[in-house]
């Protein structure tokens, strides 16, 4: 499988310690699988063990969730994922809102072999599920955008290592998700995480970390509270450990729906939480063992060095026809280096399953990564991929290749760039299907001129209240519910997962699967008729409130 064109990007590489850690973990899990297969472990006992390694039992088969730490993949890793999907699954994978890759049709006996194949390319499934610290996510433009204070991935990697099999925190009350960002513009939905770190500069110009906690979606959505405006660099792990310890000690354990950190913080109040954390933090600092030395930060940061950018390139967008210009308008973003760009590949061509990619598509994307983006790609929480470092003059060639893949939709950030969870088509927890709803809405708004006229509009669909499809954070959110065996879809308006985070308002009774796309269309029409200069859908909604949208949505629905 050696590819002569393969480029090794600047990203974290395992040293002998990381490699040994992951391979011992694989053998440990292989032993657990064996004990399950032999009957020594009951399913009840095996469950938390397999979950800690990303293995779910779904409706039809086991699902394996592979970690893509802070969304960064090399071409070598992408090719291996394609190979695994081809060999052990049904030739496709699903990129998730946690920037992981899920394989939906896995056999338990194959799992150890898959994990060994992953370990060979420095990947794993450690803590991609279960009541522990999950895969750390980050801004998909990290290292490529000039908006950032610094690349957030070195810190994310440090958090990944610190949280891997942390002995105190692998049997938490519930799952615990951490995200890291370094820009004012939030592309990583920081405020919807159990804990989030934003890299900031203080008044003296020193870089440090703003820590937030208690955000979350699910049946009780909350926006995170600031725990501390500025944590010094060397103290960050001590501070994160303090938050987790307070959570592990003080969270409820008697009701699974009330055991996330958001419930604890909003029960005792953010002020009390800050106090408890501060006390722990001082204690941990005093022992001194978690101080992060500058040398360690420097060592990890060095792995993520910027690639050597060519100089003297034209910074103009190439001319390559209307289709290309349309794509470049939405899917290409400003890069830190002149003559370069960040290109988003939306896995959202209307009619497609959001986030799905076949093995062949993954292989071709790996080729694109090598040829045009120093061997690197990012997975986004909006279930898209990003080529972080491409020369502008190569964009037309990239666009042409993406067209062949059917991944060239010029819709990043537009109404058809829909987030959807796997829903009842796959998921054991779902109450309703998400994928066909996403497909029918995307089809309804397929006309590009209309999409462009509507502008930025984020639709997010979940098939149950667990909210894997982020419906609370959608400008238009859709929640699938089950009423006596029939699927209904509730609308929520006004949510945002960005720096202006808000929780969407519930409109009212749900729509049937045949009504929902029409209701969305009528809501969008209200926006088009009432928007004022430059307003996005979200802005108009915030100005007008629910009433006009609600009236229009139910207009054509029989009482």
């Amino acid at each position: 499988m050696l590819n002569p064109k393969q480029v090794e990007p600047n990203m974290y590489r395992y040293d002998e310690f990381d490699a040994r850690f992951v391979s011992e973990r694989v053998e440990q899990f292989a032993g657990q699988v064996e004990r399950r297969l032999s009957g020594e472990l009951t399913e009840d006992q095996f469950k938390p063990l397999r979950l800690m390694n990303g293995l779910y039992l779904q409706l039809h088969a086991y699902m394996l969730r592979i970690a893509v730490p802070y969304g960064t993949l090399s071409s070598r890793q992408m090719r291996r994922l394609a190979h695994i999907a081809r060999t052990y699954d049904k030739d496709f994978g699903h990129f998730t809102t946690r920037t992981n890759l899920q394989l939906n049709w896995i056999k338990l006996v194959d799992v150890p072999a898959i994990l060994r194949e992953l370990a060979e390319v420095e990947m794993h499934c450690i803590q991609t599920s279960g009541n522990c610290v999950r895969n750390v996510t980050a801004d998909q433009f990290a290292g490529a955008t000039d908006e950032e204070i610094e690349d957030p991935r070195p810190l994310a990697e440090i958090i990944r290592q610190w949280s891997s099999l942390h002995p105190e925190f692998v049997f938490l009350a519930r799952k615990f998700k951490i995200a890291v960002g370094a820009t004012e513009k939030d592309r990583a939905a920081l405020q919807y995480h159990d804990m989030a770190v934003q890299i900031v500069k203080n008044a003296e110009g020193r870089i440090g970390y703003k820590v937030m906690a208690g955000g979350g979606m699910g049946r009780t959505p909350y926006i995170a509270h600031v725990m501390r405006e500025f944590v010094e660099r060397e103290d960050i792990l001590a501070y994160l450990e303090a938050v987790l310890r307070v959570y592990n000690q003080d969270s409820r354990r008697d009701n699974i729906h009330k055991q996330r950190i958001k419930i604890l913080i909003n029960t005792i109040g953010p002020e009390e939480m800050r106090g408890r954390v501060a006390r722990e933090f001082e204690e941990i600092k005093r022992t001194g063992t978690l101080q992060l030395p500058q040398e360690e930060l420097d060592r990890i940061t060095a792995y993520f060095a910027l690639p050597r950018f060519e100089t003297g390139l034209s910074d103009d967008m190439p001319e390559a026809g209307k289709d290309f210009a349309d794509w470049a308008r939405t899917n290409v973003h400003k890069h830190r280096a002149p003559g370069y760009a960040i290109a988003t590949i939306t896995l959202k061509t209307p009619g497609q399953v959001p986030g799905d990619a076949t093995s062949a598509q993954m292989d071709t994307i790996a080729d694109l990564m090598d040829e045009f983006s120093v061997g690197e790609v990012r997975v986004t929480h909006e279930q898209n991929l990003v080529l972080p470092h491409v020369r502008k003059k190569d964009l037309p060639a990239i666009f042409a290749k993406l067209k062949e893949l059917d991944f060239a939709s010029p819709n990043a950030g537009l109404i058809t760039d829909i987030i959807a969870c796997p829903g009842l088509d796959y998921c054991d927890l779902a109450n309703a299907r998400s994928i066909p709803i996403a497909q029918s809405i995307a089809k309804k708004f397929e006309n590009l001129a209309r999409q462009q006229d509507i502008g930025e509009l984020k639709i997010k669909i979940s098939g149950c209240i667990n909210a894997c499809g982020h419906h609370h954070a959608g400008h238009i959110g859709i929640l699938g519910v089950d009423k006596k065996g029939v699927e209904f879809y509730q609308l929520q308006l006004g949510g945002s997962g960005a720096e202006d985070a808000s929780i969407g308002d519930i409109m009212g009774p749900g729509f049937t699967e045949h009504e929902i796309a029409g209701a969305v269309e009528r809501v969008v029409d209200v926006y088009l008729k009432t928007r004022k200069d430059g307003e996005r859908f979200l802005d108009t909604y915030r100005r007008l409130g629910m009433a006009p949208f609600k009236d229009a949505a139910y207009e054509k629905v029989a009482a």
Binding site: L49, N131, P167, A173, N248, R299
Partner: protein
């Protein structure tokens, strides 16, 4: 039936040990010799228990923060931390606090419902004795502690972290 495993034989690895402590229910009379009592019993009979001049152990439920024992902590030779079900991970933090903040140097014993796969984590945060089912062998115990050679985090076991190992290469 259960057995006790600790490191009392002075060699590397665990060994079966005699449990010197008699568990005493909250309303039973105190027998001679070392006893293991609940928090409620200790709070009720504190002075009498401490006056006996024999070792006293306390068994804490997972909802009982050992910090509430205050200075009394140093009167105990044994603190047993209960796992009511293996999913309840609070005792991992209690053990850590006992060792690093409260400076407790006596025995910390894992009791209740825990899995083979948790023993190493328990060991790392400060447990040094385990009440295990009869079919839990020493060989299993030692394997549990050695499946993962290196660790990323400092904990109560004082084990060198991967970061420290890197620095000393």
């Amino acid at each position: 039936m259960t057995k006790l495993i600790n490191f009392s034989n002075g060699k590397s690895g665990g060994a079966y040990a005699q449990d010197a402590y008699a568990p005493v229910t909250d309303d039973a009379a105190l027998p001679d010799g070392p006893v293991l009592v609940s928090l409620a019993r200790f709070q009720k009979d504190r002075d009498a228990l401490l006056a006996r001049n024999t070792p006293v152990g306390i068994r804490l439920q997972s909802s009982e923060n050992p910090e509430q024992l205050g200075k009394d902590i140093h009167h105990f030779a044994l603190i047993a931390l209960e796992f009511p079900k293996f999913r309840d991970g609070r005792a991992f933090s209690w053990a850590r606090i006992l060792r690093t903040r409260l400076g407790f140097t006596g025995e910390i014993r894992a009791v209740g419902d825990f899995l083979y796969d948790q023993v190493n984590y328990q060991h790392r945060v400060g447990f040094d004795a385990w009440e295990v089912p009869d079919n839990f062998t020493i060989e299993m115990f030692n394997r549990a502690l050695t499946e993962m050679t290196n660790v990323y985090q400092p904990s109560s076991d004082g084990k060198k972290t991967i970061r420290e190992l890197r620095a000393s290469r």
